[in-house]
């Protein structure tokens, strides 16, 4: 199993009321940003990655968001380049570069450079980007998937097809493709794809034999995607397994239960992931497939499920802010009950992690270990406890359950059984 540390690298020095008023991290005025604090934070986040390497993690996962204090990794490749140089062993896993917002030729060059600097430790993942990335980067959301597909195919070509060549596609056009920086890993670095259980992406991954990593999604829909991946893999003539699947889990650990409970609340700060961006920014025009739009149409026009999907709307008055804050923290225990959020000491979190590993059977596991206002000291303690106590336990569980990661079993390399019928996967055993 490949175990990674993850954090959004939040800029958390924004008053919580501002986020609650805006009902969204995206769109908070950047007058709340203090570059001096930002500078200190970015550098301590680098220090924490070095510490994670020291404590035994296999990889560090980075991501990219724009226009939001939720995540400071806007040009993530710059962070990755720094980490490529200062770390020695960690895989640098980018989940992922939002392709529709990129210039794919420039991206191919940047990633090749990072792979070279790191000595071949890069995992360049790709994403469509949240809807808000389409708005921020002015990448037409109605062409989001087309842009993703074409940019992906182009990046692979730029890495593997001898140049110079001319490229004329639908959305991208290049006169002279001949990058003089190429990845060290051949034919190109391994690609992993993260997502929020969109069936279209899962099918696309299975067809490309790219591992799919579900981002802290609910367990039942996640298991449906494991099955969909396996079905598609079988159609493609191979057997999928743990090496094809990853899971991001929110895990907060501290020396005492009490302290862990205090720190875990950081995930609820301002509404947490539920306040990432308002629906009109999450779902800009044409961003979703027709099928996804049909599902949303039912949800949005039904008052009950609409409330579930859009728990918060912008508010002004003190009373409304107070009410929404109560609603936000009212969900804290529920999120722990359904294991969306695991909070505790190493001893109390290990059985819960075991449950997740047994159910999802991932070969890649990312630990999102803090969010909101958590001090550097507490983040370091968390890395130490995870590395020294939780990781060894997880490795033992992984061996027991046979959860080989993509560095142990090449994804897509296992043939179907002689019967031609695929083996059962997670959720079916």
């Amino acid at each position: 199993m490949h175990i990674m540390m993850f954090t959004e690298r939040p800029y958390y020095d924004v008053p919580e009321d501002e986020i609650i008023k805006n009902a969204s991290y995206f769109g908070i005025p950047n007058t709340h940003f203090d570059p001096a604090k930002g500078s200190e934070l970015l550098n301590t986040y680098f220090d924490e990655v070095l510490y994670a390497e020291d404590r035994g993690f296999d990889g560090v996962m980075l991501n990219e968001h724009h226009g939001t204090p939720f995540c400071m990794g806007s040009p993530m490749n710059i962070e990755a380049a720094v980490l490529a140089r200062i770390t020695q062993r960690l895989k640098i896993v980018l989940l992922g570069n939002p392709l529709p917002a990129a210039d794919p030729l420039r991206l191919a060059e940047e990633l090749a450079m990072i792979d070279m600097i790191s000595g071949g430790r890069l995992v360049p993942g790709f994403v469509r980007g949240a809807g808000s990335e389409s708005l921020f980067n002015n990448a037409n959301p109605a062409y989001n998937r087309e842009l993703f597909n074409e940019a992906h195919d182009f990046v692979i070509q730029a890495w593997t097809k001898p140049g110079p060549f001319r490229y004329e596609g639908k959305h991208y056009h290049y006169r002279f493709v001949n990058p003089w920086v190429l990845p060290l890993q051949k034919p190109h670095p391994p690609i992993w794809i993260p997502g929020l259980v969109s069936p279209e992406t899962v099918v696309w991954c299975a067809k490309h034999r790219y591992p799919y990593l579900a981002l802290a999604t609910f367990l039942d829909p996640t298991l449906e995607m494991v099955k969909l991946y396996a079905d598609t893999a079988a159609e493609e003539g191979y057997q999928s397994g743990p090496e094809n699947f990853g899971y991001l889990q929110r895990i907060v650990v501290a020396e005492t239960e009490e302290k862990a409970q205090e720190l875990g609340k950081g995930f609820m700060y301002g509404g947490g992931i539920n306040s990432f961006a308002r629906p009109e920014w999450m779902f800009p025009p044409g961003y979703n497939s027709k099928a996804a739009t049909r599902r949303l149409a039912k949800v949005f026009t039904d008052p009950e499920s609409g409330e579930e999907l859009i728990p918060f709307t912008p508010v002004e008055s003190e009373a409304d802010i107070k009410e929404n804050r109560a609603k936000i923290y009212g969900r804290y225990q529920t999120e722990q009950d359904n294991l969306q959020l695991i909070v505790g000491t190493p001893d109390s979190v290990i059985p819960k992690i075991r449950h997740i590993l047994e159910r999802v059977r991932p070969g890649i596991f990312a630990m999102w270990h803090h969010h909101g206002p958590v001090s550097h000291e507490d983040r370091m303690t968390s890395i130490r406890l995870l590395g020294d106590e939780v990781l060894p336990a997880m490795r033992a569980i992984s061996d027991e359950l046979g959860l080989a990661g993509p560095y142990e079993t090449e994804p897509g390399s296992r043939p179907l059984p002689a019967s031609g019928v695929r083996e059962p996967v997670a959720g079916e055993v």
């Binding site: 708005l135 002015n138 037409n140 959301p141 109605a142 062409y143 629906p279 009109e280 920014w281 800009p284 025009p285 044409g286 979703n288 739009t293 049909r294 949303l296 149409a297 039912k298 949005f300 026009t301």
Partner: protein, 265 residues
């Protein structure tokens, strides 16, 4: 409501190499109606009134939920060319045309490239020209509902507003709006809802009687764009309705009907 309701039908015609949904009703000289960026809002009082003396032909833009989009149409200029070919295929030109918002922009592009296909043109708060005071409201960063709400100056004083798009939030309407927004995004994402070459091209149009209708309080397309249209199309008239937003045909229906009837007849 007028007492004698005029029936209308929805059918499919094959034109410009594609299947096109057309709503048709009324009798008399044909009138081509180009709908706005949220789709066809429904058969309204002004349709009913003009249908007394005109046969209304209202195509649903391809990709706006009814029939598939046409792959080669990726800009409003392309859509204008598509409709020029469709008018020729249907042997409808020269025809009177009325266009609303994005539909007004389509009509303006058609006029700019071939004015002879029209007899008279009515543009109701068209997008297409970048205002020099204010900016066109961004449909792509708000919900369809918020955009619709912003389109009228005073919903209380325009009862027909509540009936637009069926009036109720249904899953079907949500989906139709998302289709309309997605296709609008393909057509007009950037530059947003305008074409920098439109005003110079309109200055080349002559002998096309043109009526521009604008609400003085339009929050979607500021009236400064109306003045540029007015200066660009030789001999055009600009009718400005007071206490009115982006939907003069709904907000000031009587005034609108009278003005358009007198212009067309």
């Amino acid at each position: 409501m007028l007492e004698n309701s005029i029936p209308w039908t929805e059918g499919t015609v094959h034109a410009a190499g594609a299947d096109l949904t057309i709503i048709k009703g009324g009798s008399g000289r044909p009138l081509f109606v180009l709908h706005e960026e949220l789709g066809f809002p429904g058969w309204l009082r002004w349709h009913e009134a003009l249908a007394q003396t005109h046969t209304l032909h209202i195509p649903i833009h391809p990709g706006f939920g009814q029939l598939p989009r046409v792959d080669w149409v990726s800009s409003v200029k392309d859509l204008a060319s598509f409709y020029s070919i469709a008018l020729r295929d249907m042997a409808l030109g020269p025809i009177d045309v009325i266009g609303f918002s994005l539909g007004g922009w389509v009509a303006a592009e058609m006029a700019a490239s071939c004015a002879h296909q029209f007899r008279r043109i009515v543009l109701v708060a068209p997008t297409g020209i970048r205002p020099d005071d204010g900016e066109i409201m961004d449909l792509f960063t708000v919900t369809a509902r918020a955009y619709l709400d912003a389109s009228v100056h005073d919903p209380e004083s325009s009862p027909e507003f509540a009936t637009l798009y069926g009036g109720e939030a249904t899953p079907e309407q949500y989906e139709a709006w998302e289709d309309a927004r997605a296709e609008s995004s393909r057509l007009a994402w950037q530059p947003y809802m305008h074409n920098p070459s439109l005003a110079p091209m309109l200055r080349g149009v002559s002998e096309l009687p043109a009526l521009l209708i604008w609400g003085e309080e339009d929050k979607v397309v500021p009236i400064s764009a109306g003045h540029i249209y007015n200066r660009s199309i030789a001999g055009s008239e600009l009718a400005i309705f007071e206490d009115c937003g982006h939907r003069p045909e709904t907000e000031k229906a009587d005034e609108f009907i009278a003005r358009v009837e007198s212009f067309l007849n």
